[in-house]
Symmetry: C2
Subunit: 234 residues, 2 copies
DNA sequence: GTCATAAGTGTATTTTATACAGTTTGCTGT
DNA sequence: ACAGCAAACTGTATAAAATACACTTATGAC
């Protein structure tokens, strides 16, 4: 069943469980969200998160991954449960509890044709259109979670390409925290964490001088987590 | 339907939504959890969190509050959604997504007869018995959330009586963080936050000298939150 | 070869966290 | 009545972390 068709099959007296995906991306210094234009009634033409009913035989988290793959062609994406939305009247059509999950994707990885087929558009977070049902609330909650989580877990890296520069990383954190950071202090802090591997390549797309590329040091991160290390990024 | 009977009515091919409550209390310097002995099959005699199906016409959060009131007689309790547990095979009897919610209650407020009728027992957190299904995981997750949340939101106060002493508060935080805190630094930190109202009464139950009682300053807390103040307790 | 632009570097100051020990209070027991 | 006890309470010095701040370097464009 495609997500857009789900409403055709519902029964009013049944309890449904769905999942909705809050998909973040980062592009050109801006945090963006992937939203979808509904092509069926009810709410035809309104903007919405992408979602699906959870099938009897699949985990809730599997359902979300399935949706994400259907839409973006991506696999192995960072995804985490946000929370369940369970107001009895949250959807006027039928009784449905939705488990919202947020995903962080590398914006140049996804399958653009596939998303366009599904009526998807990237919006900057401060230019979001009104979203259907409680999806606006979900996005707000996800944004709050992202802000908080970014402080103690290096999830920012999930939004960047594998190789990235320090100024890129900084501009991402500036987008998440919605404030300017001091470049000297940012760089200093990051270097002391020991989470970056400096490469012998430069990215010259944004300056003549070029900025060194780095990789995230997953191995060392795992080690540090195990030893109970406490992060704080920016 | 009482929670203990819910399994009698299930259909194998239906999707169910339930809620389970992780109920924390604080007594005699120890953090405790309220768990229940099942009196029906399946899992007769095993320890379990208390829960219920979510009814068609009620919000998920209402369902949790209903359960809590049925069990403890309490109303207006601090309660917050933990997360949804949605593994397809989490309950072998039927397909059920459970939305776990954790509650903090003042342990001398609740209705002891009522809880005993329901087969409830308080366990210290490090003396918990094995719990049924994924309830052990829920408790673990709730504990992690409580630890983290206590750092930036003054939720500890929900676990203490309205009037409390600084040493009581400290011992609560020591129980949450599972480590000793320096009494001088703890007191200093708290006083600078401006969240306490000193009363003209003393609690003499734990020392001859007596310790001054304090109230939590909800009004000032609200103000500080609005002005974007950032807490860190202990 | 000079101009423009982003990348990169170091230090001083303030703030916050931590470590640490002695005094006060008021009941108890003799 | 007074010595003993136990918990409540207080202050200061040190270390660590966060913040504020300005110039130099590299390189392509002209």
């Amino acid at each position: 069943m495609t997500p857009a068709l789900k409403d055709l099959y519902v029964q009013k007296d049944k309890m449904y469980v769905a999942t909705d995906c809050i998909i973040f991306g980062f592009d050109a210094g801006k945090l963006k969200l992937l939203v979808f234009k509904r092509r069926v009634e009810p709410f035809l033409g309104t903007w919405s998160l992408i979602g699906s009913f959870v099938r009897m035989e699949e985990d809730v988290s599997e359902a979300a991954k399935r949706v994400l793959t259907e839409i973006t062609g991506l696999d192995n994406v960072f995804m985490e449960q946000l929370k369940a939305y369970g107001m009895a009247d949250r959807d006027p059509g039928y009784r449905c509890v939705s488990i919202a999950q947020f995903a962080l994707i590398r914006i140049d990885d996804y399958d653009k044709e596939l998303t366009e087929e599904h009526g998807a558009h990237w919006f900057e977070l401060n230019e979001l259109p009104e979203l259907v049902l409680d999806h606006g609330q979900m996005v707000e909650d996800a944004m709050a979670r992202l802000k908080r989580k970014a402080r103690y877990q290096p999830i920012g890296f999930e939004l960047l390409p594998e190789k990235f520069t320090i100024p890129q990383l900084q501009s991402l954190y500036e987008a998440i925290y919605q404030k300017k950071l001091d470049d000297r202090n940012f760089r200093k802090k990051l270097m002391t964490l020991g989470l970056l591997i400096k490469l012998n390549e430069k990215d010259k797309t944004t300056s003549r001088r070029g900025a060194f590329l780095y990789k995230f040091d997953y191995d060392n991160y795992q080690k540090l987590v195990k030893s109970g290390y406490n992060f704080e990024i920016a």
